[in-house]
């Protein structure tokens, strides 16, 4: 079930370079949310510019409170950063298909940049639903400042870090970390971040016969399957009927092999 809910803002703070965390009391929406799903948030009130809602992953949903983690990249996210406690904001969601959570010898969550957003909610769910199962969270970024919400994540599972400049953790790519992890044995992989990173992760997964779920992005108008705007091309799938998927409805989480052959 989806809801159109006016949430009440509890907090809106910066947690990293141009990155903010927004906490919203939104009981119905938070109650229905699953890890990997997203919301469409209305930015700017009483104006038609910006016009469209903005899609944001659900960073955490608990006790009627929805948390979003967003990076300021343009007009809408900049306006969001001006929201203050007590204000109301219209939310549409929860939307899309989230992560599939099954028992596994090792759950590997791989995040890059602000792509960690959905991983906190996912880690919380795995820990709650499959207590005792092995879980690792692998984070990558250009430098240490780009590694976000590490404390929150560490509470759920051990953290493994990699930075391009070596300022924190492994001096290299998060895929290097992953390679080491899955050498030790089979793992179920969940990833969200820049496309090149996710493609690297998917390749590793395929080579080691690990199941891998990826969380995609596309520019969206409606977020609910009505506009057919949020297409992603499936390379290799020549056939017209299968050429495209729609991120908002078929995803945003896909099995890697559905997208990249």
């Amino acid at each position: 079930m989806q809801y159109l809910e006016d949430g009440q803002i509890l907090a809106n703070q910066t947690v990293g370079p141009d990155t903010w965390r927004l906490e919203i009391r939104s009981p119905r929406l938070a109650g229905a949310a699953q890890p990997g799903q997203f919301v469409m948030i209305a930015v700017g009130e009483a104006t038609t510019d910006p016009l469209l809602r903005r899609p944001l992953s659900i960073h955490q949903a608990a006790d009627g409170v929805l948390t979003l983690l967003y990076r300021i990249v343009g007009k809408g996210t900049r306006l969001m950063s001006r929201l203050v406690q007590g204000q109301e904001v219209s939310l549409l969601g929860p939307l899309g298909k989230g992560f599939k959570i099954h028992s596994s010898a090792h759950h590997c969550l791989v995040g890059g940049g602000v792509g960690v957003a959905p991983l906190l909610f996912l880690a919380s769910a795995i820990k709650a639903r499959l207590p005792g199962e092995k879980m690792s969270i692998l984070l990558g970024g250009r430098n240490s400042r780009e590694l976000l919400v590490m404390e929150d994540l560490r509470e759920r599972a051990p953290l493994l870090l990699a930075t391009d400049d070596g300022s924190l953790g492994l001096h290299g790519l998060v895929t290097d970390l992953l390679a080491l992890e899955i050498k030790e044995g089979p793992a179920t992989i969940y990833t969200c971040g820049p496309t090149p990173m996710m493609q690297g992760v998917a390749r590793l997964a395929r080579d080691h016969a690990c199941s891998c779920q990826v969380s995609l992005e596309a520019v969206m108008a409606c977020g609910m399957g009505a506009c057919l705007g949020c297409t992603v091309q499936r390379p290799g799938f020549a056939e017209d009927e299968q050429k495209y998927v729609h991120v908002c409805k078929d995803g945003p989480v896909f099995a890697a092999e559905e997208i990249w052959l």
Binding site: T48, C222, M224, A226, C230, T231, Q233, D240, Y244
Partner: protein, 304 residues
């Protein structure tokens, strides 16, 4: 006090003038959590072609100032799957459905009309002769009075139902096209479709749409749409269905004052998926508060 919100499009009586616009409301089902579809005057489904179409490569949509560009490329499941998979669900939801059709030849329009002629539960056909997103088809018909009239003619001939012809705004004289289509026997006209537009990302130097050119919709185009509805409604005798940037009750009233018998809500469904249902209620309340007894009093009531 009793108030009559109904309007008539040919022989077809709508409970109220609020419709949803093609391509902005899917096939209806996505909106069931937010709108009682049966309460709407009608829903117009995404454009249907004879064969399925995959549509354009991404990116397909981009926001602009108070508007958006889309280049969906008329992606649709094709008429057969529409009839087999979508119509049963639509019937079951009790929606009054208008089927929007498009083709790239007179023959295709004829076949579509014929194929849909005896499908149960369709209130009317809307003929898209104006979609600006696909280079062939669409635009060519909608920008030439003769071709527009011929398309209207073949569909009218094949169809037992009201035929609404949807006009393109990307023309020098929309009244010319409207008159030609009226002569060809159309039951009603709907306008406007999107304005052809383009966006470029100044950082990458690339067009923001893979298709380069797309269709502009939303509040940005409302003044153009209202002007065209006013011009066309003043020039033809058949009903006009107005659309283009409608987001609230004031907009609905303005379009009806300009001469629209009914209106379609498009892009606004993306911003507030409940808006169409809210407007049905808001429209009834408005008639009451403004002391009117029927929707028809509003149509063309602009005071010059």
């Amino acid at each position: 006090m009793a108030v009559d919100t109904s309007v008539k499009i040919g022989s077809w009586q709508l409970a109220n003038p609020i419709m949803t616009a093609s391509g902005t409301f899917g096939y209806g089902e996505e909106f069931t959590p937010f709108v009682d579809l049966s309460s709407l005057g009608a829903i117009v489904v995404k454009g249907i072609s004879l064969r399925p179409r995959p549509g354009n490569p991404p990116p397909r949509v981009v926001e602009t100032a108070s508007g958006m560009l889309n280049a969906i490329g008329l992606q649709n499941v094709g008429v057969e799957r529409f009839i087999a998979e979508k119509m049963p669900m639509i019937r079951q939801l009790g929606a009054h459905v208008v089927v929007n059709i498009l083709g790239d030849s007179l023959e295709e329009y004829r076949e579509l009309a014929a194929r849909l002629a005896d499908v149960e539960g369709i209130a009317a056909l809307e003929v898209n002769i104006s979609c600006p997103n696909v280079k062939k088809g669409g635009v060519a018909f909608g920008t030439d009075p003769l071709m527009a009239a011929r398309v209207a003619g073949v569909v009218v001939k094949e169809s037992s139902r009201p035929v609404i012809v949807k006009l393109s705004p990307n023309v020098t004289d929309i009244v010319l096209i409207a008159r030609a289509v009226e002569e060809a026997g159309a039951t009603a006209l709907s306008l406007i479709n999107t304005l052809m537009g383009m966006a470029i990302d100044s950082r990458t130097g690339r067009p923001k749409l893979a298709n380069i050119i797309g269709g502009l919709s939303g509040p940005a185009i409302k003044p153009v749409a209202l002007r065209m509805v006013y011009q066309v409604a003043s020039a033809v005798k058949i009903p006009v269905i107005g659309m283009g940037g409608i987001t609230n009750l004031e907009d609905v009233i303005e379009f009806m004052m300009a001469g629209a018998t009914a209106v379609q809500i498009g892009t606004a469904n993306f911003i507030n998926p409940a808006v169409s249902g809210e407007l049905v209620k808001g429209f009834r309340d408005y008639l009451l508060e403004s002391g009117r007894t029927s929707a028809s009093e509003l149509i063309g009531s602009v005071r010059l």
